[in-house]
Amino acid sequence: MAVRLSLGIEQRFRVQLPAMLLGSSPTVNNVSTWIAGKLAGHDDSENGQSTDLVAGFLHQHGEELTRDEMHALDEDVRRLAETGTRMIV
C-alpha cells in the first residue's frame, strides 16, 4: 500500500519521497505538505544534493523563504562545505 502510493506520487509529481516520511506515521497532511514544499521549491535537479538539504531544512523547521533566498542559501551551504567552518565558538 505504502509502496503503491509512493510510486504513484513519485510518478505524478516527479519527486522522490524520503523513506523517513513514510516510515514514521505518514498522514495525508504531512505527505501533501512535503510534496507542496518540494514543488514550490525548485525542481532543477542539477543543483543536486545541497538543494535537497536546504529544502529538507526549510520543511522540517517551518521556514518560509523566497526562491531567491533559497538559491542564495544554497550557495552559502556549498561555500561552507568547501571552506569548512566552526559551529561552536
Binding site: 513519485e10 510518478q11 523513506a19 545541497s50 531544512f57 542559501l73 567552518t85 559551529m87
Partner: protein, 444 residues
Amino acid sequence: MNKTDTTMQKTQLIDRILGRKAGMASTETALPASTHPKNRARIPDAYTRFDRHPGYEKMLVPKAASERLGIANPFFRVHDGVAGAITRIQDREYINFSNYNYLGLTGHPAVNQAAKAAIDRYGTSASASRLVAGERPVQRKLEEALANVYEVDDCIVFVSGHATNVSTIGYLFGPKDLVIHDSLIHNSVLQGIQLSGATRRSFQHNDTNALNQILAEIRGQFERVLIVVEGLYSMDGDICDLPPLIEIKRRHKAFLMVDEAHSLGVLGKTGKGIREHFDIQGKDVDIWMGTLSKTLAGCGGYIAGERALVEHLKYAAPGFVYSVGVAPSLAAASLEALRIMQKEPERVTRLQAQGQQFLEAMHSLGINTGLAQGYAVIPAIIGSSLKAARLSNQFFEAGINVQPIIHPAVEEKAARLRFFLSFLHTDQHISYTREVTKKLMGNR
C-alpha cells in the same frame, strides 16, 4: 511508462525504504568483501570523511541560514557561575530560564558542603565499575533514599540519566518484545528500544484510549510488553494521566515505566513526583526512572523498583556493569539535595505557584504555551526555528536567557522558547519577563 519499468521502480522503492529502515543492522553485510585496489577506488570519498557525513552536511544549512540572517548562535553559551534564577554570561547578569535547578539546590551551600566532604574522603572518582571496584557507602545511601521516595524495594544509580534509559530498556527487552511509548517520549527511551531490538510502537501523546486499543490488537503477538511514559513532559510541560495507564498495563499484562526526570521536586505536594500527584502506590508502576541532574543537583540517573529488577540490572545492565560507578561527590550532592527537598517542602510549593503565575502571565499576553499546565516547564510555541532563535537572541539582549528548542528535539515546525522555572525566581523576575515578552511577542 511501461509495465517492466514500473516493476523495477517498485523494487527500487522497496529497497530504498527497507534499506533505510534496516539502517545500522545492514551495514555489516554491505561492506565490500575485499579491499583490493579496484574495490577501494569504488568507495566514495564521502564515506571516508567526517566533513562529508550526511548529518554534518545537514547542519551546514542552519549555520548558513543564521549567518545570512544575522542570527547569533544561541547554543553553547558560556556561563561564569552557578546557574539559578540568575546567571552570569560574559560579565553580564541575566534572568535565567535555561536550567533544571528546579528547587535551587544546585549551588546550595549544604549540597556543596556534602560534595566537598565526599571528595575529602573518597577523592573525585569511583575509579571503576562498582561490581569490581567496590561500593562507597554514599552510593548505597542515595539508592536507599531514592527507593524510599517511591516506597519500593531498591534502586540502582547509573552515571547518566540518558544512559539509564538506554541501558535498562536495551538490556531488559529483546526481539520478541514490544515497547510502546508516548509519541513525545525522550530520545533516551527511543535509543534504548533501538538497542533492545524490540518492536517499537508509539501512541498519540497522552491518548490512553489509543494505547489501550493498540494493545488490544497486538499484545498477543509479543512476549514482554513495556509501556513508557514521562511524568512531566520536558518539552511541553504537561503530565501523563497515570491512573488509567496503570489500569491498562494490568489489563494487557504489560510493564509500566515512568520517566520522572522532570517530575521529581516539581510534582506532588512534597515533590515526590507524579506518584504523589495522583496518590498512587509506588508498586503500581513497575519501573520508576529518574535523573540526578535536575532537582537533585548532580549528574546520573536511577531506576527504582522491585529487588529482582534492581539486582538483575546491577549484575547485568551493560551501562552499569561496564561503566564506572557514580562519583561519590555527585552521590553525596544528590543525597543532600534529596534531604533538603524532603525537609523543605515549601520549595516545592513555591515552585508550583511560580509556574502557575508564569503560565497566567503568558496567557494574559496571548502567547501559545501549547500543552503546558504550569509545572516548571513552560514553552512559548513559535513554529519556525529561525524565528525562535532570533527571539531567543532578542530576549538575551533584554537580559533574559531562554533557549530555543528546535527539531529534532521537538516535532517538525514546532520550534519554541522553553522557559524553565526555578524556586529561585522572584515575582520581579517573572513580571520583568512578562514585560519583555509583551514587547517582543505581544502582537502575535
